[in-house]
């Protein structure tokens, strides 16, 4: 889609305005959006999570953000910030703390209260969150000095034990 203003560049800012109860939509390229005073920066990630992600990530420590944060798929938090998408289900464990905060901001809660799911019997071996798995994660959390996470894991292990 071309920019409504210059009709030259691709529109990347989609603005819905409600003025006197009339809804209008405006599609602008970055330059025209900036010229019209619509808040945007050329460096901001171009997906709906961009702003929220930036805010959450700024709170998190930035020292290790480019190291592979997920051992399963190798995704880093930088990848997530750039695309707004996680690499695999294991990323939820690898980035548990910052994701919990992000989920709270997005949904107002990080606790699933809907349908529970049991992995089918033939796949029980793949079941995540077993005690063994939690102990591994606790050790990793202590080694990387993530004490808040470690405390949480210890609580969960106590419940299971």
């Amino acid at each position: 889609m071309l920019c409504d203003n210059c009709k030259e560049r691709d529109a990347v800012v989609h603005l819905t305005r409600i003025v006197e109860n009339a809804v209008t939509q405006l599609h602008l390229c970055e330059k025209c959006a900036a010229a019209k005073g619509v808040e945007t920066t050329l460096a901001a990630p171009q997906h709906p999570l961009g702003d929220i992600l930036q805010a959450v990530q700024q709170q998190a420590s930035s020292t290790a953000e480019d190291a592979p944060s997920c051992t399963f798929c190798g995704s880093t938090s930088r990848d997530f910030r750039a695309t707004g998408r996680l690499g695999c289900p294991h990323c939820y464990d690898a980035m548990e703390r910052s994701l919990r905060e992000l989920l709270r901001r997005l949904h107002g809660s990080s606790k699933h209260v809907g349908t529970r799911y049991e992995t089918p019997a033939a796949h029980l071996l793949d079941k995540p969150d077993t005690l063994h798995d939690l102990h591994d994660r606790l050790n990793r959390a202590i080694a990387s000095e993530q004490f808040e996470l470690a405390a949480e894991l210890r609580d969960r292990i106590r419940v299971l034990e």
Binding site: R85, S109, G114, Y117
Partner: protein
């Protein structure tokens, strides 16, 4: 199940558009109800990060599991990664696949392994942003029925394929906006009364406060055209599937009441102006020789309102629904049997609309001789 290199729409169960038949509750205002569940399979990276081979293995795993999924018995497998653009566009125009799965989204090129299984009232999109997108489409305002369809498919499939599930976060999805239930419950609703009375801004702002969001005809990223709005839940975590459905039902019921009230006000306070405007819409559709898509949608909105207000009595809501889908570019090209330029599509659209209005009953109902 069969795989076909070229799309033959007549092979789809009911052409994949049974939801257009206007048989559901409140079908004059609510065109359709759609329930979507996002699911991922353990052991693979999410589609966007997975390699081609992983996505193909995933598709094979799902295909092998379908023997235990009665909801999709007799379904048709369509490989989008093996299909010309026009056929993918056609499926997208029928709301059977998302723009991303169809590879029509500039940001996300067509993926190897992109496929869809189409059954009677449910569909299973494979290798979308999430590995699996389960969807059910129903005519009219039919939230519990559509949810029942998708829930049955979910239970059957989840017993065959291991889903990625987290005890705290729920069903895990590529984008955290879908995490939890993975449920997007939506209705496609026509609100010309609220737009004409300029009440729409208040109503949309109100529903956003209630936790719903609105989009255009084709969901995320699409524009509002022809006064058609897609209303859906904004969040997926922290509320159960039942709560999310209840919320949608309550808010949509209220929106329908506001729309009906707005229509009463229009007829009472601006009777002849509205009548003139709506008959002009009908006149344009009936006689125009070239129509852009947006024009057609806007005039169709007028005619739909005229039918709702019983100004025009001979036209069925089904015909209007059909025009909504079949007057789109890929459908017109399919009808003409060749690719069309934009100008040619505008001519073909006007011709198709004219012929439909004549053959399906609009012509004889003008009250004046």
């Amino acid at each position: 199940m069969s795989t076909r290199p070229n799309l033959d729409l007549s092979l789809l169960p009911d052409g994949g558009v049974r939801w257009l038949d206007a048989s559901g509750p409140n079908a004059d205002v609510v065109i359709s109800t759609r329930m979507r569940l996002a699911r991922n399979v353990t052991g693979y990276a999410f589609s966007g990060r997975a390699r081609d081979g992983e996505r193909l293995r995933m598709l094979a795993q799902v295909r092998d599991a379908l023997g235990g999924v009665p909801s999709l018995s007799g379904s048709m497998l369509l490989r989008l990664d093996d299909m010309p653009t026009q056929d993918r566009q056609l499926l997208h125009e029928r709301h059977l696949v998302s723009k991303e799965l169809a590879g029509l989204d500039q940001q996300h090129p067509l993926r190897t392994g992109a496929a869809v299984f189409l059954g009677q009232s449910v569909g299973l999109l494979v290798n979308e942003e999430d590995h699996l997108r389960l969807q059910a489409l129903r005519s009219g305002f039919a939230v519990p029925q559509a949810f029942e369809d998708v829930q049955r498919l979910d239970q059957e499939l989840g017993a065959q394929v291991p889903y990625a599930f987290h005890r705290e976060f729920g069903f895990l999805t590529a984008c955290p906006t879908n995490t939890g239930t993975g449920l997007r419950a939506s209705v496609l609703i026509h609100l010309p009364g609220l737009v004409l009375t300029k009440e729409i801004g208040k109503v949309l702002a109100g529903l956003q406060q209630m936790g719903l969001t609105y989009r255009g005809l084709y969901g995320e990223g699409s524009e509002v055209v022809g006064n058609f709005f897609q209303l859906s839940n904004q969040t997926t975590l922290g509320r159960s599937e039942d709560e999310l459905q209840d919320l949608l039902v309550r808010v949509v019921r209220h929106v329908i009441e506001r729309e009906e009230e707005a229509r009463r006000v229009l007829v009472r306070d601006a009777g002849y102006i509205i009548e003139d405007k709506l008959w002009r819409s009908y006149g344009t559709l009936r006689y125009a020789r070239s129509l852009t898509f947006d024009e057609a949608m806007n005039y169709l909105s007028g005619v739909r309102l005229a039918v709702g207000l019983k100004l025009i009595t001979g036209l069925s809501v089904y015909t209007l629904n059909k025009l909504l889908i079949f007057a789109q570019s890929a459908h017109l090209a399919h009808l003409e049997g060749r690719a069309l330029t934009e100008g040619e599509a505008n001519l073909a659209r006007a011709r198709y609309v004219r012929e439909s209005l004549v053959s399906e009953g609009g012509e004889s109902n003008d009250p004046l001789p």
